[in-house]
């Protein structure tokens, strides 16, 4: 019965259940049109891309025991930067220029991440407050960049980031997959993952073990900023404009939720990328399902809340024990050690 004890069991079950519901309610769950995949499932995967990216970065930040509230603002800024620059292009569809602009926007996001990381690791401000500063001011900066307007762009390569297909698959989804693979390789093929978990477990002990805890902390905020920037680009490419008010609004909460549903504890330490992916896709699917099954719009949030409450409870070992009988950990919890 090991599988039942896995923290990811219930999230995975709920995700599958929601997908099954969608299979029956949607006209086209998955279909091939013009050589591309279309339907509800590809839509979910495409739409989940920004949240997936943000949640990935958030996972790393949370692993160090931090939190990043500014991701939504970073999304707004990166979208604003990109759209502003593209709108000044002579040929908005010039691929080279657009790629360069995308790079500039991501570069700006990395800098914003560096700012967060410096405040947390360098100045020593509590993460929730340090990133709150950028959360508040960042949206102002985005508004300033767009001069309070919504900048529309007509750039097919830019729009392709969100709506295009490559090898029959949505490009946004491919970007997210690439990011997942990259982060997994970065953390599990190098020693970064273990060092991250060590810093999250105990910063003092990590420093005394020779780990450059501050450098690692700054790094995860930079990475988180970069991913948020990329998510912002996909968001703005999808609506072909920069909307500095609603871009990434409240996404930090969804991202944190995705991370926690995925079994990473907010206090830091052990993290799970696979868990975060399940969590993010689950949240996206939930949003789609609510519409698909025809829950009235005024009840969508309430419906979502009920699922979230159920998920949070399913993540609690104590709750599972009380509800599903005696919970046995896979390894004996050694309160009294077996003597030598």
């Amino acid at each position: 019965m090991t599988i039942l004890k896995n923290r990811l069991f219930w999230p995975a079950v709920i995700l599958l259940a929601l997908l099954v519901v969608n299979m029956f309610t949607s006209n086209q769950f998955i279909t091939v049109r013009d050589g591309h995949l279309f339907g509800t499932l590809p839509d979910i995967l495409r739409g989940a891309a920004p949240l997936l990216l943000v949640a990935l970065g958030m996972t790393l930040v949370i692993a160090t025991g931090g939190i990043d509230l500014s991701v939504g603002s970073v999304m707004a800024i990166s979208g604003a930067v990109a759209c502003l620059l593209i709108s000044h292009l002579g040929d908005q569809s010039a691929i080279g220029s657009v790629l360069l602009i995308v790079a500039v926007a991501i570069g700006a996001s990395l800098l914003l991440g560096l700012w967060n990381g410096t405040l947390v690791a360098g100045v020593g401000i509590q993460p929730i407050i340090a990133t709150l500063i950028l959360m508040v001011a960042g949206r102002g900066v985005a508004q300033l960049i767009t001069d309070g307007q919504i900048i529309n762009v007509q750039s097919s390569p830019y729009a392709a980031m969100a709506t295009g297909h490559f090898l029959a698959l949505p490009i946004a989804f491919l970007i997210a997959v690439a990011a997942i693979v990259l982060v997994t390789l970065l953390t599990r093929r190098t020693a970064l993952g273990m060092l991250l978990e060590s810093v999250g477990g105990s910063p003092t002990a990590s420093r005394l073990a020779g780990i450059r805890a501050k450098r690692i902390t700054v790094m995860v905020y930079v990475v988180c900023g970069g991913f948020a920037g990329l998510a912002g680009l996909i968001y703005s490419a999808n609506i072909k404009s920069a909307d500095s008010i609603s871009a990434g609004n409240l996404i930090e909460l969804d991202a944190i939720l995705a991370v926690v549903i995925g079994g990473t504890a907010l206090v830091g330490g052990r993290f799970s990328i696979a868990g975060t992916v399940i969590g993010a896709v689950l949240i996206q699917t939930l949003g789609v399902t609510v519409v698909a099954v025809g829950v009235p719009s005024k009840a969508t949030l309430l419906f979502k809340a009920v699922i979230v409450v159920a998920l949070c409870l399913s993540q609690s070992a104590t709750f599972r024990q009380k509800v599903f009988g005696r919970f046995r950990p896979s390894r004996p919890a050694v309160a009294a050690e077996v003597p030598a």
Binding site: R189, E197, A205, S206, L208, G210
Partner: protein
């Protein structure tokens, strides 16, 4: 072993009438995969100091937690004052008159001294806490225990030793019938421990039954009337302390003939001959840090064991931290292999082959939720940088080697290290540094709070390292240990290095105590 269980002290101790105040019979406690207590009997009489003995993992902590209501029992019976009880939480056991002082001071350091004594029982009038009355009572109580503290200062402004005494003051004021002291002396120096014993004897004479746990055998013999020995969760026997020779006690605790232990100790016993012509590895001149340690001179040679002796807070740890770059020096110079260096961070010290294992095992040593394997390779991995991971096969090889060499139990590299006993955690820490193949190993209190067997093994290890040419800076509050292992002893006092002693025939604990007490003997 093979000796029958002998209950040599079955009747009430002399001078005490009536039955036991506390009696536990057939106590059984099972954790998933482990039987922590297996049919243990235990009796405690009023007006006695009763030592609970056993190695780490023998079941002492579990027994105490059962008594204090932290754990519920799976079998057996507890009677308090003749009537059966079943504690469901610390509050119930406290109300029934069982108070506990733990090894790790379990008070709230963010609250004032007075509050720590009275919280939960504050004197009130119309629901309002009477702060004045509370402070007055706290001061009175502390005076009774010979303590003169500012009761309105927060507890974190006082040392661990003082915090321990405050914990006892709290326990006493609950008007305890049974007082449990779980390794209260592990962070106290000799004079502080002495003061604690005075308090214990006074309370005993007032009729309090005291259960005392300590790893220091001398203290057991100094203060306890009777003792109970546990091993592997089973009762070995109940004895009068005065009637049980130390050697036999240790045998009963570890279940081995003492010859084995003697062998270990023999190996640890230094010949105290330093190979002539050993090169100095590190030499500090006027190195110091304001507020932490006054400028000092110190040279450490290859294969040399240097002991740091001094009371708690004498600057032992501060000195060690400077040599590891954990804190930065603000004066003086440091030469390593004859070259000027400045240690700005632990990394820079590690580059020079210096390793440091902190005295605060739980907060500055192990990473609890990582596995034994990860904890062991952590420092080596940090030194290599995150881009060059140690191949998994190599990791397993190294970890297996050190689990065997240091006899880390349980020998499971994938177990979370927080589930290991203190002694085994300490070994994991040592392994972490040994695989970096250091030239100078700084170990701060490696044997504090761990059992006799593990202690001997660690001492033996230090001796072997030294024989292999590794220099060791050994920090310990136990003078005997420092004397046994060191070639050279640095004595600290009031955050100042006051004397350097070659460890020759004439040097003994008294000689060092004298220096600590009176400053340098020139």
């Amino acid at each position: 072993m093979g000796e029958p269980l002998s209950l040599s002290g079955t009747s009430a101790p002399a001078g005490v009438g009536g039955g036991p105040v506390l009696e536990m019979t057939g106590i059984r406690k099972v954790f998933p995969g482990v039987v922590a207590l297996d049919g243990v009997d235990f009796r405690l009489f009023p007006g006695e100091i009763h030592a609970l003995m056993g190695e780490n993992g023998a079941g002492k902590s579990t027994l105490i937690k059962v008594l204090t209501g932290v754990y519920d029992i799976d079998g057996g019976e507890i009677t308090l004052g003749g009537s059966p009880v079943r504690f469901t939480g610390p509050l119930q056991s406290q109300k029934a008159g069982v108070s506990t002082v733990y090894q790790e001071v379990n008070l709230c350091t963010n609250l004032s001294v007075a509050e720590n004594i009275f919280i939960g029982r504050e004197p009130r009038k119309f629901g309002r806490i009477q702060w004045g009355l509370m402070r007055k009572r706290a001061a009175e109580l502390l005076t009774r225990l010979d303590l003169d503290l500012d009761v309105s200062a927060t507890l974190d402004t006082y040392s661990l030793a003082i915090q321990q005494m405050v914990a006892i003051a709290r326990a006493v004021d609950v008007s305890a019938r049974v007082l449990i002291l779980d390794e209260p002396t592990s962070s106290l120096d000799a004079s502080e421990a002495e003061q604690l014993f005075k308090i214990m004897r006074r309370l005993r004479d007032e009729g309090v039954a005291i259960l005392f746990v300590s790893h220091f055998l001398d203290q057991i013999y100094e203060v306890s009337d009777r003792l109970t020995v546990l091993r592997n969760g089973k009762l070995i026997g109940e004895y009068k302390t005065a009637e049980l020779p130390q050697v036999q006690l240790v045998e009963k605790m570890i279940g081995k003939e003492l010859a084995v232990l003697d062998d270990l100790e023999d190996k640890a016993q230094r010949t105290r001959t330093k190979s002539a012509g050993a090169q100095p590895i590190l030499s500090a001149t006027g190195l110091g840090r304001t507020g932490a340690i006054a400028p000092f001179d110190l040279t450490i040679h290859e294969g040399e064991v240097v002991g740091l002796a001094g009371l708690l807070g004498s600057g032992r740890t501060e000195l060690a931290r400077l040599l590891f770059g954990a804190d930065r020096a603000d004066s003086g110079e440091l030469k390593i292999d004859g070259k000027d260096v400045s240690l700005r961070s632990p990394q820079s010290a590690m580059k020079h082959g210096i390793a440091f294992s902190s005295e605060n095992r739980r907060t500055e040593g192990i990473i609890g939720e990582l596995t034994v394997r990860e904890n062991i390779i952590l420092a080596l991995q940090a030194a290599r940088g995150w881009t060059r991971p140690i191949p998994r096969r190599k990791q397993d090889e190294l970890v297996d080697k050190y689990i065997k060499a240091l006899q880390i139990r349980p020998a499971d590299p994938e177990r979370e290290v927080r589930n290991l006993s203190g002694g085994n955690q300490q070994k994991v820490l040592l392994a972490r540094w040994l695989i970096t193949e250091p030239r100078l190993l700084i170990i701060d209190e490696p044997t504090r709070g761990i059992d006799v067997g593990a202690k001997a093994e660690i001492q033996k290890l230090v001796a072997e390292l030294s024989d292999g040419g590794v220099a060791v800076l050994f920090v310990s509050a136990e003078l005997e240990e420092v004397l046994r292992l060191s070639h050279k002893i640095e004595v600290l006092r009031d955050r100042r290095l006051v004397e350097e002693l070659e460890n020759t025939e004439g040097v003994d604990a008294d000689r060092i105590m004298q220096t600590i007490a009176s400053g340098a003997v020139q």
